[in-house]
């Protein structure tokens, strides 16, 4: 009996591993699990402290400005890191315009972008941002835990980061994740 148990052990391990992989693959196909996404440790924490200059026509802003706006407005806002050289940012742009039209305040930060290029980007495609700052060296982005563009952070009325999206906000993501969250925070 003991011997049989020992001999069945490799089979048992294989079955466990197989069942595990089956579950993982199933969730991956559903879309509820992504081994490649990196969660943010800033969720549930207040926004990091920063001050950024602006672009040509736009004044920059700081963390204090953000918090002041949140206190005044009493509603959550989106901070969006973008760049003119970033293709997924172009893909995300129409959805940002839609969200902005629906009343979500969006403040943009141009990451490692020449000021003229970033200005040109919003001038050409439309401006979903109420305020825009420029982070050319990219240091402030690192304080936010940004590792690529586009990345968006939803900050609630109390100044706490509630949601983070690494990658473009597609209409599907906005419908499934962002808008429901906005409703609960309102």
């Amino acid at each position: 009996m003991n011997r049989r148990a020992l001999l069945l052990a490799p089979f048992g391990v294989a079955v466990l591993a197989g069942a595990g992989f089956w579950t993982v693959l199933g969730r991956m196909r559903q879309g509820s699990f992504d081994p490649h996404d990196v969660p943010s440790p800033l969720l549930g924490k207040p926004v990091p402290d920063f001050t950024l200059p602006g672009l040509a026509a736009y004044q920059g802003f700081s963390a204090a400005d953000l918090l002041a706006q949140l206190r005044a407005g009493g509603r959550p806002m989106l901070v969006n890191f973008f760049a003119s050289w970033c293709v997924p940012c172009v893909i995300e742009h129409p959805e940002l315009m839609a969200l902005s039209r629906d009343g979500l305040p969006i403040w943009g930060i141009a990451y490692k972008d020449k000021p003229e290029a970033a200005s040109g980007f919003v001038a050409q495609r439309g401006n979903p941002f109420q305020r825009i700052a420029a982070d050319q060296p990219g240091r402030v982005a690192i304080d936010w835990g940004v590792y690529g563009v586009p990345e968006s952070y939803l900050v609630d009325a109390g100044g706490v980061i509630r949601w983070r999206m690494a990658g473009p906000i597609t209409p599907q993501i906005a419908a499934e994740q962002l808008r429901p969250l906005l409703k609960t925070l309102a």
Binding site: L7, L8, P10, F11, A14, F21, V24, L25, R29, P35
Partner: protein, 668 residues
């Protein structure tokens, strides 16, 4: 037309594989000689059909047939011919076809070279190989068919990843896969033995050449991959503990254990259960590695297809092959007659320790590779497990192996005394100590010094067996020399295999002392680094077939040497591929066998070039060591006494008739 013929050949091969899986095993079960005899023919037929399919794909690539989807996605009219041919296996579908082709080659090889095997065993082995082939070909046809067409064809293809357009690519995958997939044959032997209910010394002898061949090829394939990364990726690294690298290392670890375990089966008919489990395990790891790389589950720089749907199909295949064989093992292993008893301190005992240590290393590598997935899925915690973890956990497990592998060949079978085995190594120990101390006092710190000492221990100790056999210094020189000439090849094989490992360790230890300098040079400027003077002669453009290249010409001379003599030219470059929009660096490497000098061209600023100049002591020994190991395996393979077609054919036939009496009567 040709792609359609290829497609048909692929389907034909699949059908033949199914026949190959079912008929011979049924024949062996029923002792039906005709069905058993059909096995080699079916295996060769499948090989032929699959060969035609592969040839059709290569032809489509060479002829720039962009109606074939695979060619359109991975090739380009301007791609050099060599890469059109070798690039067929640089993508997902092509590599699956290569897998299947090599599996078919294994079946064909057993058919061609396995004539000395008893017909029932051969039939079962070919049958099991056919089963694996059938599964793979079905996957190929249904989920990753290289012959899918597209209409209308694009004007030109999307070209292949520039990193892969390299001579090293031509040889790394086929050799690696031949090793990987080659372990299907020992796997088939193990399953056949479980079906038959018997493992004996003869089985051990038959399985050995196939294990040796696969192991040597896998060693060579891994080394080639590592060398390719070293010179192509441009920063002197050679092993990154990347998940795909680990996936190729795992079968190597258990395959090494299998190789040594099979010796015990052959010599003492012991360790049968270990050996069967290792044979099943090694091929299972090869299969599982294939699955992981193609499922999108892993974060890896190598990962092919991020397609969970394909992953599900392969998972099903794995469930049948691995689950089935392990279940068979659980129920049939007790039927295998228990082997010879042995004391814990004996050659068998040392080999059991070897098995345990190698399998422990494999377990740690599996755990480290899969842990990020487990932590994410089960705990929701996102972590990384990288080189620092593996280095810290694998090295302490490898160290006892390095120490013991020198002593173990000197231990007697069944019951040994440690004293004599150690005493005959006194000179190797002294030399190792001397090397270690010299290194510690000289350039190295503690860790590398230890490694150098261990390397000396391994290299010198490996020759102890030969010294013993030729009775060096104990009889006359003439006698020793004649004994040397008469030594079996397998003794040389073992010696080279073990010494090669030592050379590899020395190479890795040397690389830990590597230095690098980052400099900004204008044309005409010189800099001194690592005992050489480096002068940037000039920068120029050089056109390539499908890239634009910027070349730097460096004149390098050892310091202190005469100005003209002893200097040489190095030309590192950067290549920009317009179609894929990627830039690769081509490092320039000069080697004198004992160290590598390595120069990389970086960005240019105002006419000056950023260059990185490396000095890598003993770097070539890493790959020379691996080559020596593989050569050792090859030498053992050439030893006539270890091969199936060995002398005493009459005895083999009599053995065959004794073991399969019912079949024997029908065989001529």
């Amino acid at each position: 037309m040709i792609p359609e013929l290829g497609h048909f050949a692929l389907a034909l091969a699949c059908a033949l594989a199914f026949a190959q899986a079912v008929l011979p095993i049924w024949g062996a079960h029923r002792a039906d000689a005709r069905l058993m005899r059909a096995a080699p023919a079916l295996a060769l037929g499948q090989l032929l059909a699959l060969g035609c399919a592969a040839a059709a794909l290569v032809w489509s690539s060479v002829a720039d047939d962009f109606t074939v989807l695979n060619v359109a996605e991975n090739s380009h009219t301007l791609k050099p011919l060599l890469y059109k041919v070798t690039g067929t296996w640089g993508n997902h579908e092509g590599s699956i076809l290569l897998w299947a082709l090599i599996l078919a080659l294994c079946g064909g090889a057993v058919a061609a070279f396995g004539r000395g095997l008893p017909s029932a065993l051969r039939a079962r082995v070919i049958g099991v190989l056919g089963g694996s082939s059938a599964g793979f070909l079905l996957f190929c046809l249904l989920a990753s068919n290289p012959f899918n067409r597209m209409w209308p064809p694009p004007l030109d293809g999307r070209d292949m990843n520039p990193l892969l357009q390299d001579a090293g690519l031509a040889f790394h995958p086929p050799i690696l896969y031949a090793g990987y997939v080659g372990f299907a044959v020992p796997f088939a032997f193990a399953v056949a033995a479980l079906l038959e209910g018997r493992i004996d010394a003869a089985w051990g002898r038959w399985v050995r050449p196939w294990t040796l061949a696969s192991w040597s090829l896998l060693t060579g394939g891994i080394a080639l991959g590592s060398w390719w990364a070293y010179y192509e990726l441009g920063w002197g690294g050679f092993w990154f503990w990347d998940p795909v690298e680990n996936a190729s290392l795992l079968p190597w670890l258990t395959g090494t254990a299998l190789l040594h375990s099979a010796i015990v089966v052959e010599k003492r008919e012991a360790l049968k259960v270990w050996t069967v489990l290792l044979a099943i395990g090694t091929f299972s790891l090869s299969l599982a590695g294939t699955f992981l790389v193609r499922s999108g589950i892993l974060n890896s720089v190598h990962a092919f297809a991020n397609d969970p749907t394909r992953g599900v199909f392969i998972l099903g295949l794995l469930a049948i092959v691995i689950g089935g064989s392990l279940l068979l093992f659980a129920f049939r292993a007790p039927v295998l007659a228990p082997g010879g008893l042995f004391a814990p301190l004996s050659r068998e005992g040392a080999l059991v320790l070897n098995n345990i240590l190698l399998c422990s290393i494999a377990a740690v590598v599996i755990t480290g590779t899969m842990y990020p997935l487990v932590a994410d899925f089960v705990f929701g915690s996102k972590i990384s497990v990288g080189a620092p973890f593996f280095n810290a956990t694998v090295l302490p497990l490898a160290a006892p192996i390095f120490a013991a592998m020198v002593v173990a060949p000197g231990l007697a079978w069944k019951r040994a005394r440690l004293g004599p085995a150690l005493i005959r190594l006194w000179w190797a120990a002294v030399a190792a100590l001397a090397v270690g101390l010299t290194a510690a006092l000289g350039p190295a710190q503690a860790f590398p010094a230890l490694a150098f000492g261990a390397a000396a221990w391994m290299i010198l100790g490996a020759f102890a067996e030969i010294v013993e056999r030729i009775r060096l210094f104990r009889t006359g020189l003439g006698n020793s020399l004649s004994r040397l000439a008469g030594l079996r090849l397998s003794v040389w094989g073992t010696t080279l295999g073990h010494a090669g490992m030592g050379v590899l360790v020395a190479g890795v230890a040397g690389m830990s002392l590597a230095t690098q300098n980052v400099v900004l040079l204008r044309p005409g400027q010189s800099v001194e680094a690592a005992g050489y003077s480096w002068t940037l002669v000039g920068l120029r453009d050089r056109p390539g077939p499908n890239y634009a290249e910027r070349v730097a010409t460096l004149r390098v001379a050892p310091l202190g040497a005469a100005s003209a003599g002893g200097s040489f030219v190095m030309e590192p470059s950067r290549r920009t591929f317009p179609v894929q929009r990627m830039t690769t660096t081509e490092a320039a490497i000069e080697t004198n066998g004992l160290a590598d000098i390595y120069a990389v061209l970086g960005e240019e600023r105002d006419g000056a070039a950023l260059m990185r100049l490396h000095y890598n002591p003993l770097a070539p020994w890493i790959w020379i060591g691996a080559l020596i190991m593989a050569a050792g395996g090859g030498l053992s393979l050439l030893d006539r006494r270890a091969r199936v077609g060995a002398p005493a054919k009459a005895r083999t036939r009599a053995q065959a008739e004794a073991q399969a009496p019912d079949a024997g009567s029908a065989v001529a």
